[in-house]
């Protein structure tokens, strides 16, 4: 069993989406968790709990990668779910179960691209989420919808690899080393992509970030 951060570390931490836990606590908490290898081998024999754990461990990352390709919630959801099912159907083909995450993300990326291809290039402008119902949205909801729209636009201007890295790092909380291992690129390249992605996002979202800065100052 490899330790934290080593090349074969396979136990994922909880997503940054819903938990903010110091790393040391996470290490202790998850040191007893089965590795990806254990779970993959058990899932191959139809172990429902093992597969369920794999799904719970990677559903958010699968969604983030799918979103980085499709830029749309519904498509990302479909692609992520389909990919998790395809991964089970083809789990015997996962030759290195320690690298399950990277293998799964390749499936997610391919499924997402296929989904986009199936739908054809979306030439028509996307219907804004706020237009889904005729009812006016509450201020907070409106703000979130606008923010999501702005993020979607900003992300769509990034190269695909930067988009994926920034989402896995900032949304999912994957470490540089984990991203490097799972995407099969050098750690330094991950850092560099993340740096440029953030820079570009900051530039595109400058107005919003300044507003957030101002709010923080007022609160302080």
């Amino acid at each position: 069993m490899a330790g934290w951060g080593s090349e074969c570390r396979t136990t994922a931490r909880p997503s940054a989406l819903n938990t903010v836990v110091p790393i040391r606590v996470q290490m202790t908490k998850h040191s007893d968790e089965p590795t990806d290898r254990d779970l993959v081998l058990r899932a191959r024999s139809g172990d429902e709990r093992a597969y369920g754990q794999l799904v719970r461990r990677y559903m958010r990352s699968a969604y983030a990668v799918a979103y980085s390709v499709t830029h749309r919630h519904e498509d990302a959801e479909d692609a992520a779910q389909e990919s998790l099912l395809v991964a089970l159907e083809r789990i015997d083909e996962c030759r290195n179960p320690d690298r399950f995450a990277g293998w799964l993300m390749t499936i997610v990326r391919n499924r997402s691209r296929n989904l986009l291809r199936r739908e054809g290039l979306r030439q028509t402008a996307e219907v804004p989420e706020s237009a889904a119902s005729g009812e006016p949205l509450p201020d907070r909801e409106l703000e979130r919808t606008e923010l999501r729209g702005a993020l979607r636009t900003a992300l769509s201007e990034l190269p695909p690899v930067q988009r994926e890295i920034v989402l896995l790092h900032d949304l999912e909380g994957w470490k540089h080393r984990e991203i490097a291992e799972r995407l099969g690129i050098p750690s330094g390249t991950v850092r560099s992509h993340l740096h440029f992605a953030r820079k570009a996002l900051r530039k595109t979202l400058a107005e919003r970030l300044e507003r957030a800065d101002a709010d923080r100052t007022v609160l302080a």
Binding site: R60, A80, L205, L209, A212, D213
Partner: protein, 129 residues
Amino acid sequence: MKTEQNDRDRELERMLRALDPGRDDDTYWPRFHRSVMGRALDELARRRVVADLTVADLVSSWGRTLVPTAAAAAVVAGFFLLRPEAAPADEALIAVEEALVEEGTSIPDLLRDEELPDGTGVVFASEIF
């Protein structure tokens, strides 16, 4: 400067979390999980069946196929072996040596293409060994 940069990164991170569909809906990820698991049930069951198969099961499953096939083959073979002997063919082949020593048949007659009065004829065949 560095702190400001970190603040900006954290702010960006916070903004990106708006893309998490579970941020404002605690039930989203549990529903997502249930949906995947529900759709995976058949495949998981199939895998359990395959994994539970023992060597004996495998042999017996072969047996289930092999025994009827072997029985059918035996019946067919028996039928051919036990059926009444077929009537001798009209065109019996005899070797040239036999034909030459046969009484009452001259060689020119023998080599003639048409059928002889007794119903025999000549077929030239070559064999390569």
